[in-house]
């Protein structure tokens, strides 16, 4: 099935590159960025069942890592990209080390606290991060003699490539022993531990990989904008990405992408309502969940659990 529709999907995805309306391409670019974040968070929340409310922190770490490397030592984008992903991944593991034994909603609040700590620290370390004014003049990516510049199209292409690679890798991982271990932990941590799964290691792996993906997204974001401020990494971002993952269906990679596309396009589609836009967006979110509580594409493995009425966290 997926093989048959893949070429059409690809054409559809690449069509915006020939669209002359830069606003539309920019909106899609944002959607793709959110898709990357949603896939990463889905690893943590959907696969490993760790409710994380500070995901924006990893995005921020990725963005600031590239921005600082670029501004201080002139590091080019293509070298900054893996370093940003790596440092956000390390941050994920480091955060995980102390909090791995905190569970459920308590984990949620610790990660929320972590997210706020990172944001306020970035705001206050003015010598390094420019404080609330942020950092300016971050270099755009360059390939040979071609500079990506401010046009959204090359970034859209780059993000489609990144989303495809990451989505493919995550889908493969979900079916591997690692994915099975994550799902075992999510469904019943005690039983998983008793079956010989090193739960701490697999949780850290999920946090590290999820953090790394957010780092990638942060790096692309910083390079595209050329400017970053702490405002871009607030709690609302963490919550929106989480909403995308849940709406798409926990544990489904395709669902995460779908959720990201729906929730990032909806406010744009409502733009004609001007001031009432976000008000209506709130109603749309309430209604979507009202009629589709399990999300668009919930993973079949967790369907059983959803029917029972128990949450996974």
């Amino acid at each position: 099935m997926i093989r048959k529709i893949a070429p059409f999907l690809l054409i559809l995805l690449l069509l915006p590159l020939f669209d002359s309306n830069s606003y539309r391409v920019d909106v899609l670019c944002t959607a793709a960025l959110y898709a990357l974040l949603a896939i990463g968070l889905n690893l943590i929340v959907g696969f490993a069942g760790l409710l994380h409310l500070g995901y924006a922190a990893f995005f921020a770490i990725g963005a600031y890592t590239y921005a600082l490397l670029n501004l201080r030592v002139g590091c080019p984008f293509w070298i900054g990209l893996p370093i940003a992903a790596f440092s956000a991944g390390v941050a994920g593991v480091l955060l995980g080390l102390p909090v791995i034994r905190v569970r459920g909603d308590y984990l949620a609040i610790v990660t929320l606290g972590f997210g706020e700590i990172v944001r306020v620290t970035v705001t206050n370390l003015e010598d390094w991060t420019g404080g609330p004014n942020g950092l300016l003049g971050i270099a755009h990516p360059v390939v040979g003699s071609y500079n990506f510049g401010v046009d959204s199209k090359p970034y859209y292409l780059l993000l489609v490539v990144l989303v495809s690679i990451v989505a493919w890798a995550c889908t493969r991982m979900a079916r591997s022993r690692i994915g099975l271990a994550w799902m075992a932990i999510r469904e019943d941590e005690l039983a998983a531990a008793c079956s010989g799964i090193d739960t701490a290691r697999f949780k850290l792996l999920a946090l590290g990989l999820g953090g790394g993906i957010a780092g990638l997204a942060g790096c692309v974001f910083a390079a595209k904008q050329g400017t970053i401020t702490p405002d871009s990494f607030d709690f609302i971002l963490s919550v929106m990405v989480l909403a995308m993952v849940i709406l798409g269906g926990l544990g489904s990679v395709g669902g995460a992408v779908l959720g990201a596309v729906v929730l990032s396009l909806a406010p744009e589609l409502l733009r004609s309502f001007s001031t009432y836009r976000m008000l209506l967006f709130g109603i749309v979110m309430v209604l979507l969940i009202r009629y589709r509580p399990q999300g668009f594409l919930g993973a079949s493995e967790i369907r059983r659990e959803l029917k029972g009425g128990h949450g996974s966290a």
Binding site: R101, D105, P293, G311
Partner: protein, 303 residues
Amino acid sequence: MSVFQIFLQQLLNGLTIGSVYALIALGYTMVYGIIQLINFAHGEIFMVGGYIGLTVLVISSGLPIAASPLFLIVVLIAAALGCALLGFCIERVAYRPLRRAPKLSVLITAIGVSFFLQNAVMIGYGAQDQYVPNPLPMAAWGKGGITVTPLQLLIFAVSIALMIGLQLIVYATPLGRAMRASAQDPLAARLMGIPVDKVIAVTFAIGSALAGVGGVLFGSYYSTINFHDGYLIGLKAFTAAVLGGIGNIPGAMLGGLLLGLIEGLGAGYVSTQWKNVIAFAVLVLVLLLRPRGLLGERVAERA
């Protein structure tokens, strides 16, 4: 000012804001205790409470009755009733249809409600800060370098009275018994003839009323209110609830007061810029040492 006086002053300021946090934290903890939902819209209800208070104060500003300090009681009651109704409606329209849905999905509903309320207020009142007239415009009392405003004392008095009242409702009335039973085991409670849905609705209404009162107190204390205020204060109150042990009513009070104290002292001795970091760092530390919060009981992993 001596070192000790500064300490006392910061302590006092911290306790004032802490008692507002405690009022809001109570709503979080009550709702969580009964349906295990982190009601992210709760901070917005607090904010709406502040705006109801502002509206009543502004409308009545010319009337002779408004000059009396007792008028503040009317304002508080108006906000409490308005927010109770709002909380009741939100539960009915948004949360009740999802009673059997997965817990995380309801989180999206809460975020949606939150967006709705924020933007409704923004459209109604504008995005700029609104000035809240001081309902108790009397001189502050100062002694030995420490100043206490009548408003600060009132915030204390109202918060403590409400907390005692809530404690009485929960532990000494049939309604409270029904609430505790529904929290412990909804199915068994239902079998014993307790109208669990009604109890949940009333829990929402009570929690929202407390948040509404908190909103008025907060607005008068800082003299301004903004449609964005619900977000950060809500987050802090939620933190306070978790700090004390979520689902635990005395825990929420303790957590709120402690958080206020930590912030007050942090702002006084370290820097105001870092006060939020200090508050969250303490929270993380407490949870690492006591994963169930300060007064939280050990409960089964999947309650």
